[in-house]
Symmetry: C2
Subunit: 127 residues, 2 copies
């Protein structure tokens, strides 16, 4: 199967000891897969949970994907996204020349998401 | 000024060393204040950044608020929200009898927010 022109995305989250913590990310993965059956979606985590980002990317590259978006599902830009993630991406890029990795903004940098959070808080405080 | 029947909400986030990290939460605060001028909005943080949740609540109580919503702006439910936050809320309640504190779900438990994140990721992968 030629998948070189197909898109893939990795949802990259912090990770936690509590298994339940991953539920929202699994739900977003299911929602994305339902909306875009042709786009491969993988989860990956910075700490504690598996797989690591490098392993999720390696799996996609092995399957033939050459253009992979990385979506950091973090509330905001801090040390994890500014310092840790660039190093991880540099290592991944060095191991997969010819694979294009595109980093998306953090959740908290996306205005429509902030609007949705605001809508929720307006309804919660009105109740 | 009688504010006992007015609503207040505290946006409770993790905190980080990088000052820029707080920007999305400040933006949500501004959006909420614009939408609901009558609702007091405070920010508070679990770690590193100030004020702590207890200080934000104390400020609102001093101003006359008796019914305060706590919105944990965390991506998911883990140890911070399941273990740390209940203890913090118990301590706050013990210090402010007669004040009603209502805990809202985490961002990742709110379906319209997950839908907005999914919409964003669909447009990002389509691009």
């Amino acid at each position: 199967m030629n998948t070189t022109n197909k898109s893939a995305i990795v949802l990259f989250a912090h990770g936690a000891r509590d298994p339940e913590w991953a539920q929202p990310f699994r739900k977003i993965k299911r929602l994305l897969e339902a909306r875009q059956p042709g786009v491969a979606v993988e989860l990956a985590f910075l700490e504690i949970m598996k797989p690591a980002l490098a392993d999720a990317v390696a799996k996609l590259v092995l399957t033939g994907y050459r253009s992979i978006k990385i979506a950091p599902l973090f509330m905001a830009q801090g040390g994890h996204l500014k310092n840790d993630l660039p190093k991880i991406l540099d290592d991944i890029r060095a191991g997969h020349p010819g694979v294009e990795l595109t980093l998306l903004p953090a959740v908290g940098d996306v205005d429509p998401v902030l609007d949705a959070i605001t809508d929720w808080l307006v309804s919660a405080t009105a109740g």
